[in-house]
Amino acid sequence: MTPTRFRTALRGAAVAAALGLALTACSGSGDEPGDGAGSAGGGSDADLSGSLTVWAWEPTLKQVVADFQAEHPDVTIDLVNAGTGNDEYTALQNAVQAGSGVPDVAQVEYYALPQFAIGGALADLTDLGAGDLEGTFTPGPWSSVHSGDGIYGLPMDSGPMALFYNKDVFDQYGVQVPTTWDEYVAAAKALHAANPDVYIANDTGDAGFTTSMIWQAGGEPYTVDGTDVTIDFSDAGSQKFADLWQQLIDDDLLAPISSWSDEWYTGLGNGTIATLTIGAWMPANLESGVPDGSGQWRVAPMPQWQPGDSATSENGGSALSVPDASKNKELAYAFIEYADAGDGVQTRIDGGAFPATTAELQSDAFVGKEFDYFGGQKVNEILAQSAQDVVEGWQYLPFQVYANSIFNDTVGQAYVGGTSLADGLKAWQDASIQYGDEQGFTTH
């Protein structure tokens, strides 16, 4: 390189560096959470001021943030999508560990909440106002945000389960929509026999699904009392699920497609996957991700273990929590109360979210809404009813995030033929207990 070219290169590098610095200056706001101008206003809404960093992946929150800022002009909110689920939890854990970069509000799914609460990463919201909200939320989510004596988040949405099914497929093969799990297995066989390319459902091992199913069956594999943890998958509910689901696995009645993959979306749209037993937040996903399926799908109550029962469980759903390291807890709480129990709820419903508040769930407008995608069916009737029927008493582990991460290593092996579901659950149990031991919990 000649000297002139070298100089040109140097100049180029200087420009790039300047550009870089300029970019840094332009969007510095994301880097310092809780470092806003002035203090967070206390009591009345009118004098709220300050700035917040919110980590959430829920798309409907964008509008909520905009509305909140419009109502409180002295408040600035930086809504950041720091990853979905696990990715965000990793980031949150890292930030808490490092002691910096912690947001003021974080979206935390119900199964992960105990882990953060017990770890001391979240602030107890009881004194900030959450104690007054008894009855505002449906039972499932409300109990999920409790840990010990404290309240560690406000439920944002909920996922009471229901059976989403492709009516066209069932009609085409003349199969009845199942109302019990035994009927479900029969329907699975019938559909698959009629057309080997059609499956009643897909499953490659999903921790959330499995725990929700065991929940509905009345199982309580996890018993948590402070740092005393018992894990036992040999109880009645777990065994019921394992026995039933094993039949589907053995007869190859489950499509070997992972949920949320591109093949999954395709399968939902072209009739390959006939049902989804999943949480109430699914309609929005179907509408946006499976446009081909419009008009084909309907919703039915979740199949029951005994005819005439009406037990359901929650699958997914998240709360908004305030990390303990936040310096703006009061302002943060004001925001999440607005989003989860105030005007924000309707905004999010309009955006397609499924709320966790009893008021909205019981409102006529909500229940009576006709969904074009579902052929005009009033889906929310079934979903709202399901929310009321959630079985009580379920607990998650204080390290559920980790346990779910090794689900496929253990239980997942049953899906590739390595072992039986029951054995897989036992392996999961053992691995989880081992982890608990290593982390200092008293395990059984």
């Binding site: 490659t204 070997p256 992972s258 993959s261 093949e263 390290f399 997942g412 590739v416 982890y435 200092g440």
Partner: protein, 324 residues
């Protein structure tokens, strides 16, 4: 680190076969001897200093911290405590860790020779001058190197789909039932395929550049002796590029031990076959970021590092030994 730590830092001596030539002349041994006349002084530090400064921050400090971490243990309940070599003992008895090591060793033994073999053959073909459209071949086969591992894995992931991906399309079109590339028997091969695809062109270029530095006089002499093409290859070309072969092998070995990007991205498509302990790096990553077990993760990483260094050193010794 410049590169993704989980792939070998493979250089790109696009112009400079000479560099590999220098490597071949025992660069490692030779370079330590300084030229005769420069005085021993601190001036060298003026040039090496900036690099070493950043190096210390970005490299040495974290390694030291990593070693420190591996000697402690932090629990969700109970806090931080010094545990000496307990983490190491645990690692040596950990079946998941050793299954991961075994897997990358197997991967190494199969994928590296295949990839380097193909690269060598193509380089020889290009060098022989008997191809139509040599430059076109050279640049096209090299192109996959420009594709980020993320994109490559995403692409192949889409294509491997047995229902609606390319495999599925082929099944429908040809009426066969091709095996699922992401099933337990084939997943390692599938990943090996992606890695080979990514790096065959790059290695090919290393070899080709090295071949280009062979003096023509040797070929003229061989022609006078009446040697055939294959004889020339065996007797002249291969020995001459020995250095490049060794270097490429070493970096491929290091890369194989550090396999991470591709399994990590494909994991969501095959969660039951690509376990969280599929490769040692994936295991260390899961330990850190899913399990918050930073200490044990550091231990695993350190053991792998030492293992990699030992193997690379052995290969380098054997490879360079027969150098004149």
């Amino acid at each position: 680190m410049v590169t993704s730590p989980f792939r070998a830092r493979r250089g790109d001596p696009v112009t400079q076969a000479v560099a590999t030539g220098a490597l071949a002349t025992g660069g490692l041994a030779g370079a330590v001897h300084a030229p005769r006349r420069s005085r021993r002084s601190w001036k060298g530090w003026g040039f090496v200093g900036p690099f070493m400064l950043v190096f210390a921050l970005v490299f040495l400090a974290p390694i030291v911290y990593s070693i420190y971490l591996s000697l402690y243990r932090q629990q969700l309940v109970g806090g931080n405590a010094f545990v000496g070599f307990a983490n190491y003992t645990r690692a040596f008895g950990d079946p998941q860790f050793w299954s991961a090591v075994g897997r990358v060793a197997l991967f190494l033994v199969v994928q590296v020779p295949i990839m380097l073999g193909i690269a060598l053959l193509v380089a020889l073909a290009l060098d022989s001058g008997r191809l139509y459209g040599r430059s076109f071949f050279r640049i096209s086969i090299f192109l996959p190197y420009a594709v980020p591992a993320v994109v490559a894995a995403l692409m192949w992931g889409f294509m491997y789909g047995t229902r609606f991906g390319l495999i599925g399309n082929l099944n429908d079109a040809l009426g066969v039932q091709l095996p699922n590339p992401l099933g337990p028997q084939w997943v390692l091969t599938a990943i090996g395929n992606i890695v080979t695809w990514e790096f065959v062109g790059y290695n090919m270029l290393i070899f080709y550049s090295a071949l280009r530095t062979i003096p023509t006089s040797l070929y003229e002499a061989a022609e006078i002796d009446g040697a055939g093409q294959w004889r020339i290859v065996r007797a002249i070309k291969l020995p001459a590029i020995r250095g490049a072969l060794v270097i490429a092998t070493i970096f491929s070995i290091i890369g194989s031990f550090q396999l991470f990007n591709e399994p990590s991205i494909l994991q969501s498509l095959a969660p039951n076959t690509i376990t969280t302990y599929f490769t040692p790096n994936l295991y260390a990553y899961s330990l850190s970021f899913s399990g918050q077990q930073y200490n044990y993760s550091a231990t695993v990483a350190i053991i792998m590092g030492v293992l990699t260094m030992v193997v690379a050193y052995v290969v380098q010794l054997r490879g360079m030994r027969r150098e004149v």
